[in-house]
Structures are given as structure tokens and as C-alpha cells.
């Protein structure tokens, strides 16, 4: 119980620190939102227009007053409205977050689907052809930037083979099949960088566990090899894999920017970049807060899952 309370307090303190930091940083960065909003396309807005907009947006108030209002709002779950069009930020995040999560989950699913069997196969045939081939591909996957992968996938599957659209989005409720078609390329682009992570963790972990004395004991007791592998080696090797995957998923929350950009996937990361460019303070603050919250929750979830997978790690 103490552990849960401690973790909860830490999470709240983290969120408060992030909220304050992002507020301060945004106001320190040069670029007046009112000026930006009225200055697109090389047009010079009048001083009166900028001032009027600053008043409308509440930017004419002292910084401390803005900060207190902001903190007061987020404690009640109000993330404010966009400087761009006055739309509630919370509603927009609720709409976009599932799209980014879906992208991350799909990429993770593909990574596990490909990386785990490859890791097991490479470990069992250590030094063999499969091991060499998979390790080389893993190095390649890790070293190629995601925007290069994405562009190559578009070139191959969209422009040459014409199997899938170059990019875009259709809601699952509107058209499930096409939704999945749109999801494929961006998910694979992310997975290309994630598969090597899973592959290497599984391979290393299995090689380590294969040397354990209790594996030798299991074999000595007469257990067949598949049972030894599945019930003892693979299960035990999953703990570090889950930890690493969890951390990567958290990172991907804010790291799918390039993929969302390249494939025009209307997720949270793309919204964040656009909001930063346009100095849409409420949007940036809201998105960063939500990402921070999710990161904290994912870490907590990973800790708990880790405990379930490894009986030695149990928190009371």
C-alpha cells in the first residue's frame, strides 16, 4: 500500500513539475502566438489586430495570473481552448490520442510477431545462417531512420505497386478495411525500428537463460525440448523484453512525429508539432501533460506486469 501511495505521489509531483516547466518554457520561447496567427504567408498584421487578438486570447494578462489560471484549469480537467480556432483541447486530444495509441500498438504487435520468433530462432541456432541473417537485418532496421523507411515504403507500395494509399486516415467506424490499409504502412515503418529491439532482447535473454542450471535440470528430468523452451526459457526471457517494450512504447508516444507527418496520420504527435509551430500554448501544454500522464501510467503498468511475469518481483 505504501508503495502505491508513494508511486501515486511521485506521479502527481511529476505531472505538476511538467505542467509548470512546459508553461514556463513556452513563454520563454520567442514568438508571440497572436503575431504568428496573423502573420502567415509573409503578411504583416497591424498592431491593433495583434493587440486585439492578444486580449481575446488572454495573453495581455500578467504571466503569474496566466499561470494560476492554467493550473486551476488543469486541476479541474480543463485543458483550455486552442488559440487557432477556439476548439476545446481536451476534446481534440480525446479524438487524436487513440489514433496514436493504435499506431503504437499496431507497431508493437508487428514487432513482437516478427521479433520474438526471430529472436528465439537466432538464439537456438547461435552463429548459424539464421542468426547471422537476422542480426544483419536487425542492424539495418536500427540504423535506418524512420522517415527513410516510410518514404521507401510509400515509393514501393503506393507509387510502384499501387497497393495502398500514400497516406491519410479513415475512421475505423467509417470503413474498417480501409482504416487498416491506411494503418499498415505507418505501423510497419515504426515496427522496422522496433523489431530489432525485440529481436535482440529475446535473443540475448534466451541465450542467457539457456545456460542456467535449472534448464539443465529440467532437461535432466526428461522434459522434452519444446516444453523446456516454452515453459521455462521463453517465459523467463519475457520479463526484460516487456520492460524494454514498455519503455519504448512510452517514448513512441511523443516519437511518432515523423511517421505521422510522413503518412499524414492525424494523431497526437502531429498535433503537437503543429501546435509548437503555431505557438498554440494551450494545445502544447495539454498534449505534453497527457503524454506525461500516459508515460507515468505505462511505467507503472510495466512494473506491475514485470511482477506478474517474475514471481520474485512482487510489491506488497
Amino acid at each position: 500500500m505504501n508503495y502505491v501511495v508513494r508511486r501515486g505521489a511521485t506521479a502527481i509531483a511529476t505531472l505538476f513539475a511538467v505542467a509548470s516547466l512546459i508553461f514556463l518554457l513556452l513563454h520563454l520561447v520567442p514568438g508571440d502566438p497572436a503575431e504568428i496567427l496573423l502573420s502567415s504567408g509573409g503578411i504583416a498584421p497591424s498592431k491593433e489586430s495583434v493587440e486585439a487578438l492578444r486580449v481575446n486570447l488572454g495573453l495581455d494578462k500578467p504571466l503569474l495570473e496566466q499561470y494560476i489560471t492554467y493550473l486551476g484549469n488543469i486541476t479541474t480537467g480543463n485543458l483550455g481552448t486552442s488559440f487557432q480556432d477556439g476548439a476545446p483541447i481536451g476534446d481534440e486530444i480525446v479524438k487524436r490520442l487513440p489514433r496514436t495509441l493504435e499506431l503504437i500498438l499496431a507497431a508493437t504487435f508487428i514487432s513482437v510477431l516478427v521479433g520474438m520468433p526471430a529472436g528465439v530462432a537466432a538464439a537456438l541456432r547461435r552463429g548459424g545462417v539464421i542468426d547471422g541473417l537476422c542480426s544483419s537485418l536487425a542492424s539495418f532496421g536500427l540504423s535506418v531512420p524512420v522517415f527513410v523507411t516510410g518514404t521507401l515504403l510509400i515509393l514501393l507500395f503506393s507509387q510502384i505497386l499501387r497497393l495502398v494509399p500514400a497516406g491519410g486516415y479513415v475512421g475505423f467506424a467509417d470503413n474498417p478495411a480501409q482504416h487498416i490499409v491506411y494503418l499498415l504502412l505507418p505501423a510497419v515503418s515504426i515496427a522496422v525500428g522496433l523489431i530489432p529491439v525485440v529481436f535482440r532482447m529475446v535473443r540475448t535473454s534466451i541465450l542467457e537463460f539457456l545456460e542456467k542450471e535449472w534448464v539443465r535440470t529440467a532437461r535432466a528430468k526428461g522434459l522434452d525440448e519444446p516444453r523446456v523452451l516454452l515453459l521455462h526459457v521463453v517465459r523467463n526471457s519475457l520479463s526484460p523484453v516487456v520492460t524494454v517494450l514498455g519503455l519504448h512504447m512510452g517514448t513512441l508516444l511523443g516519437g511518432t512525429v515523423l511517421v505521422e507527418y510522413v503518412f499524414n496520420w492525424p494523431g497526437l504527435s502531429g498535433m503537437l508539432v503543429q501546435a509548437v509551430e503555431q505557438r498554440d500554448y494551450p494545445a502544447v501544454q495539454g498534449i505534453v501533460l497527457v503524454i506525461c500522464l500516459l508515460f507515468v501510467l505505462i511505467n507503472l503498468g510495466v512494473d506491475l506486469l514485470y511482477g506478474m511475469l517474475d514471481p520474485r518481483v512482487r510489491y506488497k
Binding site: I43, N56, D85, Q159, V181, Q274
Partner: protein
Amino acid sequence: MIAKDSRRGFSFSRRGFLGALVIAGGLPVGIARAAAGAKPVRFGLSSFPPNLHPFEYTGTASLTVKLMLYRGLLSYAPDGTLRPELAQEWRQVDPVTYEFVLRENARFHDGTPVLAEDVKYSFELIADEKSTAHLRKDFQIVKTFEVFGERSLRIVLKQPSVTFPQVLAAGYAVVVSRRSAAPNFIGAGPFTLDNVERGSSVTVKAFPEFFRAGVPGPSAIHFIAMPDESLRIAALESGDVDIIEYVSTQYFDRLKNGADVGLESANGPFMYLLFNVQEGPFTDPRLRHAVACGIDRNAVNAAAFSGVGTPFDHLPVPPSPAYDAALVSERFGYDPARAKALLAEAGVGGGLVIELLSTSQYAQHNDTALVIQQNLAEIGINANLSLPDWATRVSRGNRGQYHLAVQGTAGAFNDPDAVSAYIEGGQVPSYTRPFGYNNARVNELLSAGRQEMDNAKRQKIYAEIDGLIVQDAPLLSLLWRPQAYGVRRSIRNFAPLPGFLSFQSALRLEDVTSA
């Protein structure tokens, strides 16, 4: 036919792929894409419109969509000449008075007729003291809006203005219903707003009661925000969209030579250099002249615009009967030796260090700055390059935090008076203007040029302004930049408007048809 066949092939193979997916995953059957030859048009925007407020300037992508929803008294024909829009006819009664008669069949999207009171309501919103309208300042010249009949309106100006009709034709001088208010203004454009997927797409559908017969051509236009240019190109080539905007010069040949796609472009925006003439080394005009002699415009064109720009060194005025660049013969052309001599004369022959401001956010600004830096190095000026994001660049420009800055923009209309935005003194400091520049004679001439109706006299006025700008050198024109659209060959009747009007090319979308 090629495009049509190609699109069929595309559609078929994707359906095949989807079929396999459905069989494999047991998913419900979906539609791969719209049928070939469908009436709706799909347009790839460079960004998602921040908002659709009809009077505010929020970028070209916004204007593109807004021109579908809203119209004003006047607009532009395909050749860039003024044409009546909601006004059926209009006339200039005397130098300060204009009268307009509205069309009998002009209707708002709620079905109500467009009346003179609606025009008055809209223009008063624009001119309001607290308005954030883009044209608020331009409307300050209006003395009165007088309704003298259900469909008749008289506008009286405080002083003559040759460009006032151009202001009324701008995409921001639109008419909204007086029974509507922000943010839900009701317009009278050829399309009505159908669906907005915030951050992703906007769909407009044809307004059957639009006043112009046979217009609009498309049954709907689906605007899809595609900030990544390579994705826009890929989407155009693979047939996912029919038209894309903001095609960089590096893609020109590829699109021109495409089997199913083509390129439509017009010289519109221009690139230029701005000096901070209030603080720093460039308060000395000799140093500005030295820079003018050190800039190789052809090198900028070759390196940053693939050689398809049009270098020029006169006032940034598109072809106009009121301006003749040939009337000024003395200019500071590319002459590195003279540049070095001018530097030596100014006492900095041993070297000069300056701050050159541009932005890394737009490749054309970034690449132009790199060439300028190289040019300056060759004459002995060491330029420290500052390439922040666009928002920071705007902020620094507005505050004069630079010595020399790279900028690109387009004027409001194809008239020499458009240069007032860049060289007229007494305006609020802006990143589009040379910081601190204010020449009383230039201001006087600009005002005279604005009020003069005779083109021969205007030519002389703008020639004198041109000469003064050559001497003062607060800014240096570099080149005209093509404003280009990628268009599938199945699309008919789309081409950008000429000159500064290229940002309003979306007006042509109402005439587009899909083969």
C-alpha cells in the same frame, strides 16, 4: 484516357489487395477508393487551415478553403482582371464614390438573398476598431457605406484610391449574412461546408443555388492536409488526390514529365533581402550598396530554385501598365569588385561581421540564405547565419533583431501600390519590411501614386520611387518565385491566377471538371 485507365488499374489492384486482406482477416468488405471519374475533386493542402474565419488572414491553405465558402462584391477572372462577383454591376461615380448593384439571384447558404444591408454589415465588421480582419487598415479609407436600395450600395472614400476595387476583390473582403456571427458566419460561395475533420481534412459540397450558372463544376471538394511535400507528390502521382499546392521547384521536371500528372505555375511570390537600417552596420547606405553589388541573383536562382525563378532587381511589381522598370537605368548590379571598393570606402575593407536572419522551416528561405552567405563571404562580409523556426524568425523580424534578413512573400494585388506594404514608412514594424526605414519623399510619392488614376502619370511616380529605393537600398529584390500546383491530367480548367493573385488561385476551383 491514360489517366483514367491508370486509375482503374490502381483501383483494381488495391481492391484485390483489400480482398486478400478481408479473406485473411475476416474483415467486413470496405471501399478501396472513390470510383474513377467521380465528380468530387480531392485537393492536397500544404497545411490544415487554422480556422475558417472569413476576414482573418491565416495562410494560403485557409484562403483556399474560404474562397469556396465566401464571396465578395468583386473577384478576379482567370486572367487576373477584376470581375463582378456578388455585385452584378458596379461603377465609379467620382474619384471617391463607388456604387454597386447586387445580383438578384445571389443567395447565402441558408437560402436568404444577399442584400445591401448584408454587405454593409460585413464591411463594418471588417472596419471595426477592434476587428482582427486582415483588411481592417485598408477599410479605414472608407468614409461611409450607404444603402440606397434593397440591392444597392454606395461606398464613399475619404480620399481617392486607385486600388480600392482591388481591396474589394481580395478574398478577405467577403460578404456574410447579417443574420450570422463569428465563428458561424454564413457565406454565399459556390460550396457549403460539409465536414471538418480537425487537423486532417475539410469537405465542401456544391451549393446548388450559387448565382453563376453551371458553377461549381465539382460536386464536392475534399481538402486533405498534407504538410509533407513528398507525400503530396506521391499522393498526386498515385491518384489519391487530384490537385496539390506548393510544389517546390525541385519537383517541376518530374511533374511536367509525368504521364498522369502535370504542373501549373505562375510567377507570384518574390524573394528579397531586408536591411535593418535603424541599428547595426547597415545604417550606412554604402554598406547596403556593397551588399547589393555582392549578391549574385543567378546563383540564388540556380541553387535554391532549380533555375526556374526569374531574377530581377527592380521594385517587386508584377507586370502593370502603371509601372515600367526600364525608366530607372542606374542600379547596383552584381559587381564584386565594386562591392569591395564600397566596403573599403566605408572603412570596413578589412572585414565585416553581420547577423543574417532566415528560417530553416522553409527550404527556399534556408537555401537562399546559404547562397547569400556565400556571396557575402566572397566580398569580405562574414555573415553569421541564424535559422530559427518560422515563429521565431517572425518575432525577431518584427523586433529588428537582425542586420540582414531573407524574406519571401507576395503583394495583395497586381498594382504598383502593393509595394507600399514593404517600403512605406510610419507603419508598425514588421518582419516583411526593412526595420526602421522611413523616407518622407517615398511616402509622399506612394500616397500620390495611390490617388492618381492616369497610368502615364503613375509610371513617372513609381519610377521616382524606384530610383529612391535604389539609392536608399532598404531592401533588395532577388527573384520571382513560381507558385506551382501539381494537377492530374484528368482535371480540366485549373491554372493559377497571375502575379500576386496566385495565392487566390482557388477561385479557379469552381470551374474545375474531372474527366
